[in-house]
Structures are given as structure tokens and as C-alpha cells.
């Protein structure tokens, strides 16, 4: 009997290891021969640990499983039975391109990877010129999934055209935004796709060395990625002779050190070089003067992990999904106070309402949903009145939001919006790299000003608005530049919470 249990951090955090032990014990007790295969997660985190039992080639789900369920899962009488996993509503409604293998395959089995379409994209890319590779990415319409949404193919073109003895591919895996976990999920669940994507990028722009800058808060992802790089090198996917082509590409995993601002690309490059993670002024662009002053592609994990499927299925296939200038799929991360949280990959254009209320099933607490913060700590709080907004880069921007890394954090009606605005400023003050004044000083003053509002000082609100304008216009990077977004969206959409009388405050 083949049994699949996720080894993803989220599944482990919910007790997957105890369930595996119980399954092994229950199998021994009943004399059944079972093979337990560890996979990534399907992304239905509310069902984790999700145990899947394969019968006649179909995988039947049981979840959320506890150790006590083990015996009944093995003898087929468990009340946690969900039916075939692929037939679940959450699975059927997705278009899984980037995450096609996650939850299905053993993350560290290169054979499994290839049996599910892995390396087909790289093999195709090896037959193309660098320019043809860049053109394919341009034709796919892929844009930076880290948040900025810059067209990936154009960035690659700049690096391709730059003349230099060495170029680099740097993967930004410093996924620090609250409400986002897609990078972690794919690195833990399908690491070879990131390796393949980075290799294709290297072939495209003429880089022979890649780095993954992975945050230290993800110890499981670090272990999986390091092991996967070793396996890929051993199998000749990486190294001096990529798949026997005579071309060179190799990579290293580097671990961050707990600085949120290192998710900003120039600060990440400084950190990778062994410096303080302070932001660099642009220009020069990293594409021309990046790591160690050399032309460097800096792309997010999901951007790079999407490259293999674009080459496997063709740019047009990818570009056929989406809305407006947002082509392909978006990997939504539904999180926070939500009944059904997890990862949902779908074509751009789905509405906030459908994600939160239909897929997510509303709040976990059962109370009315009050707001959703989209795009991490630098994203806007979207009130329920804006739930018709479509999830696309331009579409959300038009509604005053920011798609960012496509994380959605749901809050119920107990959320204290003034408190959330204060937290945004506090977070910026803690994490500011200190290079530019609007961010370094502004965030501190922002906390103080919001405290004055809380104490009923009517003069403080215009001051906060003014301060936010200055931070937005005057900051070097998105940390200071976008912290005003959650703050001012809270002020704009929940004005009552920022009007406090002195008596009420005391």
C-alpha cells in the first residue's frame, strides 16, 4: 500500500510527523506492508496533515489526520475520508502550472521530477540561443512575482545584452512578507523546478553561477534546497556540463540573517556580498551592476520556478491564461483568520470576494470579515466594499491596492485597524536599513503620531497623512515607500477608528 504524507513545514507544524509514526505503528500492528512517501503539500492547509492512500492509481485523501486516525485510515473506515484528492473542489478549480508537482511528487526524487515533466523545459532551452530563450520568456508575459511585477523577459534582455566576463543569477528567496508562503512551499515541495528555472535563466543571459538567498527563518527549505542542489549536481543537471550539453551552470544556497529589508533586491545583493543589507540607489540597475558589480538577474522564487513550465509547454500556453497585462497564473496564498487557508494557483483575474468568501469560506472565527491585507506588510487593507476587485497587477492598483507576492491575510471584525496601522510603522522602524531619512526617522515618528491619534489628539491625523506622503515620495525602496499604504488604507477605509475623543482614550 502506497501512502503519501506531506513533509512541508505547514504539515509538520500541524503534526505530520506524529501521524507518520502512528501510521507505521498501525501498519505493523495489522501486519500490512505500507510504503510511506513524503511529498510537498497540496496547499490545502486546513486539511493538513493530509494523508493520501493510493488505490488503483487514484490517491484518496484523509484529513486533517491525527495519530488516532491511523488505524482507520489503513483499514478504509476513517471518518476523515475526503475521496479522491484531485476531485476536491479546491484542487479542481485551480490551474496548477508552477505548482503542478507540489504535493504530488517526492521533492528529492529526480526520477519522480522527470516522470512529471521535469527537465523537459531545460532540454528544450539547451537547443535555443540565449536570445531565443529571452524571447520565449518575453512572449510568456511573465512578470516578477516578488511584488514589483516587472517584466521578467525585459530584465533578462538587459543582462543578456550586457558585456561582462561574469554574470549571475540570484534568486530572491527572502520571503519575509506576512501571509506569503508560496516560495517556501515550492522550495520544500519541488526544489528541482527552481534549480531548472535558474539554469534556464543562466543559459539565457550567459551566466554560469547562481545563488539562492534563502531566509534563515526557513530551516526546512534550506535543508531541502541544499540537498536538491547536491542531487542535481551529482546527476549532471548542474555543473560544468549541464545535461551533457557542454554548457556550465552551478549554484549555491546562501542563508540570510533575519533582516526583512534584504528582500529588497539591492539590499539582498549587499548582504550576499557580506555587507550590511542597506539599500543601494538605482541606477545602476542590478541587471548591469549587481552582485560584485557584475550584470545580475535578480528574480523571485516563483518567477524562476515558473520558467520551466513556460519552456515545457510553450510561452503561448502560459500567456493564454490571465487578464490584461497580468499573464499566466497567480499563486494566491490565503492566510490569517480564514476558514480554509492555503495556496491556490489560478489565472489572474479572480475576485477578492471569490477567494476570501467562496474558496476561503470566510473567517475562521465565524465572525464577519472586516478587511484583507493583500500583498504583505506593505500592502493595503482592502475593506469588504472593495471585494469586487480583480486580482491582477493593474486591476488591484486601480483600487488602491498592491498585489505584491499575492498573499492575502484575512481579518475579522475584532481587528483593531489603528493598531494595525501602528504595527506597520513599528515594523518599518524595526526593519529599516537606515539609509534614507524618510524611512529611518519617518517610521519612528509614524508610531508616535499614531499614538497621539489614539490619545485623542485631533491635530495628529493631518500630520500622519503628511508624513505618509513624505515617506512615499522620499524613500529609496519599497519598505519606506509602501509602509504608508497599509497605514493610509486603514485611515481611509476605517476612519471611525482614527477619530478618538480624549475621554474615550483615557
Amino acid at each position: 500500500m502506497k501512502i503519501y504524507v506531506p513533509i512541508d513545514s505547514a504539515a509538520k507544524a500541524l503534526g505530520a510527523e506524529d501521524v507518520v509514526r502512528a501510521l507505521v505503528q498501525a501498519a505493523a500492528d495489522s501486519g500490512q506492508a505500507v510504503e510511506i512517501i513524503r511529498t510537498g503539500t497540496r496547499g490545502m492547509i486546513w486539511l493538513e496533515p493530509l494523508v493520501e492512500v493510493e488505490t488503483d492509481g487514484v490517491r484518496y485523501g484523509f484529513g486533517p489526520a491525527t495519530p488516532e486516525d491511523a488505524a482507520a485510515i489503513l483499514d478504509g473506515t476513517s471518518v476523515k475520508a475526503l475521496g479522491p484528492v484531485e476531485d476536491l473542489d479546491w484542487m479542481k478549480r485551480q490551474t496548477r502550472l508552477t505548482f503542478a508537482r507540489v504535493g504530488v511528487t517526492d521533492p528529492l526524487s529526480l526520477d519522480d521530477y522527470q516522470a512529471h515533466g521535469g527537465l523537459a523545459g531545460l532540454r528544450r532551452a539547451l537547443g535555443l540561443t540565449g536570445q531565443e530563450i529571452v524571447d520565449e520568456v518575453k512572449a510568456s508575459g511573465l512578470r516578477g512575482r516578488g511584488g514589483a511585477g516587472f517584466p521578467t523577459g525585459i530584465k533578462w534582455q538587459t543582462v543578456h545584452d550586457a558585456q561582462a566576463s561574469r554574470k549571475y543569477i540570484v534568486c530572491n528567496a527572502d520571503e519575509g512578507d506576512s501571509g506569503t508562503f508560496a516560495d517556501r512551499m515550492i522550495m520544500e515541495g519541488d526544489p528541482f523546478t527552481l534549480i531548472e528555472g535558474m539554469t534556464i535563466a543562466g543559459l539565457g543571459v550567459g551566466a554560469t553561477k547562481g545563488y539562492v538567498y534563502l531566509r534563515s527563518e526557513y530551516p526546512d527549505a534550506i535543508k531541502v534546497m541544499r540537498r536538491a542542489v547536491d542531487i542535481a549536481r551529482g546527476a549532471g543537471v548542474l555543473g560544468a556540463d549541464v545535461l551533457g550539453s557542454g554548457r556550465t551552470f552551478d549554484m549555491e544556497i546562501r542563508v540570510g540573517a533575519g533582516a526583512y529589508v534584504c528582500g529588497e533586491e539591492t539590499s539582498l545583493l549587499n548582504s550576499l556580498e557580506g555587507k550590511r543589507g542597506v539599500v543601494r540607489a538605482k541606477p545602476p540597475l542590478p541587471a548591469l551592476e549587481g552582485f560584485l558589480g557584475r550584470p545580475t538577474v535578480v528574480n523571485n522564487v516563483i518567477s524562476l520556478a515558473t520558467v520551466p513550465v513556460i519552456f515545457e509547454k510553450g510561452a503561448q500556453h502560459y500567456a493564454d491564461f490571465g487578464l490584461g497585462r497580468s499573464r499566466g497564473t497567480v499563486t494566491l496564498q490565503v492566510a490569517g483568520n480564514v476558514a480554509r487557508g492555503g495556496l491556490f494557483e489560478t489565472a489572474f483575474g479572480i475576485s477578492l470576494d471569490e477567494v476570501v468568501n467562496d474558496l476561503g469560506g470566510g473567517s475562521a472565527s465565524g465572525r464577519p470579515v472586516k478587511a484583507v491585507q493583500v500583498g504583505g506588510p506593505l500592502g493595503a487593507y482592502m475593506p469588504v466594499s472593495k471585494f469586487d476587485a480583480a486580482l491582477g497587477y493593474e486591476e488591484l492598483d486601480a483600487e488602491g491596492g498592491l498585489l505584491g507576492h499575492a498573499g492575502l491575510v484575512v481579518f475579522d471584525d475584532t481587528a483593531d485597524m489603528l493598531g494595525m496601522a501602528r504595527f506597520a510603522m513599528e515594523f518599518c522602524a524595526v526593519e529599516s536599513c537606515g539609509k534614507c531619512t524618510p524611512c529611518r526617522i519617518g517610521a519612528v515618528r509614524g508610531v508616535e503620531t499614531i499614538d497621539r491619534i489614539a490619545q485623542g489628539d485631533a491635530d495628529a491625523l493631518p500630520l500622519l497623512t503628511d508624513l505618509c506622503e513624505t515617506m512615499k515620495d522620499g524613500s529609496l525602496c519599497a519598505l519606506g515607500g509602501f509602509t504608508p499604504l497599509p497605514v493610509m488604507s486603514a485611515v481611509t477605509h476605517f476612519p471611525d477608528e482614527f477619530v478618538r475623543t480624549k475621554e474615550a482614550a483615557e
Binding site: 519575509g176 527563518e217 526546512d220 546562501r254 543589507g277 496564498q333 490569517g336
Partner: protein, 158 residues
Amino acid sequence: MALPDPVIDEGEIARIVEDHLHLEGPLLPILHALQEAYGCVPAASHGPVATALNITRAELHGVISFYHDFRDAPAGRHVLKICRAEACQSVGGTALAEATLTKLGLDWHGTTANGAVTVEPVYCLGLCACAPAVMLDDRVVGRVDAARMDAVLAEAGA
């Protein structure tokens, strides 16, 4: 409680530094390796590291102090990281963190009197769909309530 300084072996420090000098941008890997070996970046290593990388001690101090991860002195035997970010806040993370700190009689970054646990804030563990989340050393725990936190603390010997 102040923990005793780790026993420093100058030869070992030199070996750790030497092992990483072939890397491009070796400083962060060196600092991580030192912390792995000693539980902190010991002051005794500053001179050798600065010399090997041809940077000033001031520059080195600037780097070490910039990052939340690097310590001047070892933490307790276990490190409990409690997520403070928005997704965890949306399901009661703030109250959980405050109750835990109160129970242990600590502030953030503090270590219990028996040296068992240091409590650190962390901004996101990527467990936002099963919040509130904490991490004890390298082990993640999701949907933490008071009972589960008590179990984690008991395991750590707090």
C-alpha cells in the same frame, strides 16, 4: 541570566574562516558557521575574521550588528521564536505572545533563569495559513493555543 562565554579555540576559528574564504562574499557564511559552532559570534573571532577578509573591525561590527540573527553571547539551550506578523495577529498571536512572556517573566530576547529558553520575536515563519505559529529551535508548530504553547515550553524545559 548571563551565560558563560563559550570556550574559544583559536585554531578552530581560523579553520572556520579558512573553510569559507574560497566563496564569493564569504562573510555571512563565516558568521553563520561561527554562530553554529559557538552559539554566538564570539568577540575573539572579530580580529581573525577582519584580518582574513581585509576589512576593518568597525566594518565587521557594522555587519554583525545589522542582522537580527547574530548574537554577541549564546542564547539559552533552546530558542523559541514567536511570530509577531500580521497573519498571526489576525488569530490572536499578540495575546499569545504576551501571555507567554508574562508566564515566563521575560521581555523579548530574554532568557529564562534556568537558561533553558530564549524567547525571540520573528516576523513570519511562512505558516500563515496555520497561524499563530512558533518555532522551537528548528521545529515549527502551528495553530498554537495556550495548551500547545505549554507543551512546547515544557518540552524546552522552561
